[in-house]
């Protein structure tokens, strides 16, 4: 009897330890705030632990191709995960869109940005910060908006580029640039702009900023990695993601 109880207990403990795994996740910098919240909820709900590394998607791409031990990539775009899959570094059929980024024209000054972005036609600003279109999807979207509005002649000489959307935010928040195209997730909490004034750019003016997740080769047999990918598609996670100003 005692022996059986002992066996039952040890096997139960064994199950618990194998179940509660760890997963190393590479997370696009613009998604760091929601992901921290999701990781906490994920750990509470499943017992798995997600170890997060934040950075630029291009950098993660280079690191993954050179053997970085990440199991899951949450990219800032949909191209990088597709490329990794093509090149054999990610598991086919595991890609999905976990968030859609939204663009906002933002100034730290209150009542400066109007509700249609008409300020872009004026001379009331000296510098407009955007993310480098070569490096960041938010930069590509910003250029699309500028072109569709037809404001290139006025705007192009005033553009300064941040190497990421995070740096673009710094340029505007230190007021070295009076205006900037940033991610809505950076300046809003629960659907409200936290400071200054902003124009939430209609999604019809730019190609949707799809951010895809993918399971990487290193995470192929990792139960925690699979659980995290599933968790990201749960209602609990989606509520958090929308709360930070992403569309889904």
């Amino acid at each position: 009897m005692k022996l059986r109880l002992f066996l039952a207990l040890t096997s139960a403990m064994y199950c618990l330890t194998t179940q509660a795994g760890e997963v190393a996740v590479a997370v696009a910098a613009n998604f760091s705030a929601p992901m921290q919240k999701i990781a906490k909820a994920f750990e509470q709900d499943t017992g798995h632990k997600a170890q997060l590394a934040f950075g630029a998607t291009g950098k993660f791409y280079a690191q993954i191709k050179n053997g970085a031990p990440f199991s899951v990539l949450l990219a800032a775009d949909d191209e990088t995960p597709a490329r990794l899959e093509q090149e054999g570094w990610a598991i086919a059929g595991t890609r999905f869109t976990y968030a859609v980024g939204r663009l906002a024209l933002w100034s730290k000054q209150p009542n400066f940005v109007d509700e249609k972005g008409e300020i872009l036609r004026s001379n009331r600003f000296e510098k407009l910060a955007i993310a480098d279109p070569k490096l960041a999807p938010f930069g590509v979207a910003a250029m699309e908006v500028i072109q569709r509005m037809g404001v290139q002649p006025n705007v192009m000489p005033k553009i300064v580029q941040g190497d990421s959307i995070g740096q673009t935010y710094q340029f505007v928040s230190t007021e070295n640039a009076q205006l900037g195209f940033v991610a809505l997730s950076q300046i809003s909490i629960d659907g409200r702009i936290t400071q200054g004034s902003a124009w939430v750019v209609p999604q019809s003016l730019y190609t949707p900023l799809k951010q895809d997740a993918v399971l990487l080769k290193a995470g192929k047999d990792n139960a925690a990695a699979l659980a995290l990918l599933k968790y990201l598609q749960s209602d609990a996670a989606k509520t958090i993601i929308r709360g930070y100003g992403y569309a889904l």
Binding site: A56, G58, K59, Y61, A62, E126, K127, A129, D132, K134, L135, I159, V160, Q161, G162, D163, Q167, Q170, F171, T174, E175, N176, A177
Partner: protein, 234 residues
């Protein structure tokens, strides 16, 4: 190896930035180093530590605080606006300012060493020969400390060419104004244009090697020369 027009633009701008920064740094560092080498003031250690501080902060962090300081509500920004220059972030002169701060220890330290190694004797002898202080400084101290000047110039120049974090933070990546070689290479790497990155990095490494090699040869010759002078004088 294919370098684009933009790559060449970045190379030219980098050389301009490094040259201007080096000249300004030598002008600024010489009096500071002279004072540090000769003073017995209680301020010596605090000032020496202050000069060395840019070594401590990670460049991007230093760049971030520069960005804050250069902004319209920062101390430097308020001054430059008052002076009618606007704000300096995202401009060539903003980068010059950042580079001067960033490379200051590399200009000051070799000069302090050179002035200290010289000792007080040569200046005293010059004074007994009725040379005034300025005269003695330029005809005695500067030639004797020449290796220190060359070393300071070399390190300032090289350090500015290789500067990245500060430029990234306060530059804004504007072609012909703030897009230097290091940020251009970084851009290529991040955009996964590895071939172009290799090309530009290769050019930068070879060029820097040649410059450093040349300066170090140049540095060895006058060094012996100065040494002979010293012996003859003694």
């Amino acid at each position: 190896m294919h370098l684009s027009a933009e790559d060449f633009q970045a190379i030219v701008l980098t050389l301009q930035l490094a040259s201007v920064t080096t000249v300004l740094l030598l002008l600024l560092a010489t009096p500071v180093a002279w004072w540090l080498a000769h003073t017995r003031s209680a301020w010596r250690s605090p000032v020496a530590s202050l000069v060395a501080l840019p070594l401590v902060l990670p460049p991007t962090v230093l760049g971030f605080y520069l960005l804050v300081a250069l902004g319209p509500h920062g101390p430097i920004g308020e001054f430059t606006q008052w002076a009618g220059w606007g704000t300096l972030a995202f401009s060539f002169w903003g980068l010059v300012l950042g580079s001067v701060v960033y490379s200051l220890p590399f200009a000051v330290q070799p000069l302090v060493n050179a002035f200290e190694a010289m000792g007080p004797r040569p200046m005293e002898v010059a004074a007994t020969l009725r040379a005034n202080t300025w005269d003695a400084f330029f005809t005695v101290a500067v030639p004797l400390a020449k290796p220190g000047f060359v070393m300071a110039a070399m390190l300032s120049f090289a350090h500015t060419v290789g500067e990245f974090g500060v430029v990234l933070m306060i530059g804004g990546n504007i072609p012909d104004q703030t897009r230097v070689v290091s940020t251009q290479i970084y851009g290529h790497v991040e955009a996964m244009e590895y071939a172009q990155a290799h090309g530009l990095a290769g050019v930068m490494l070879v060029f820097s090697f040649v410059v450093l090699l040349g300066l170090s040869w140049f540095n060895r010759r006058p060094n012996r020369h100065a040494h002979r002078h010293q012996k003859a004088g003694a």
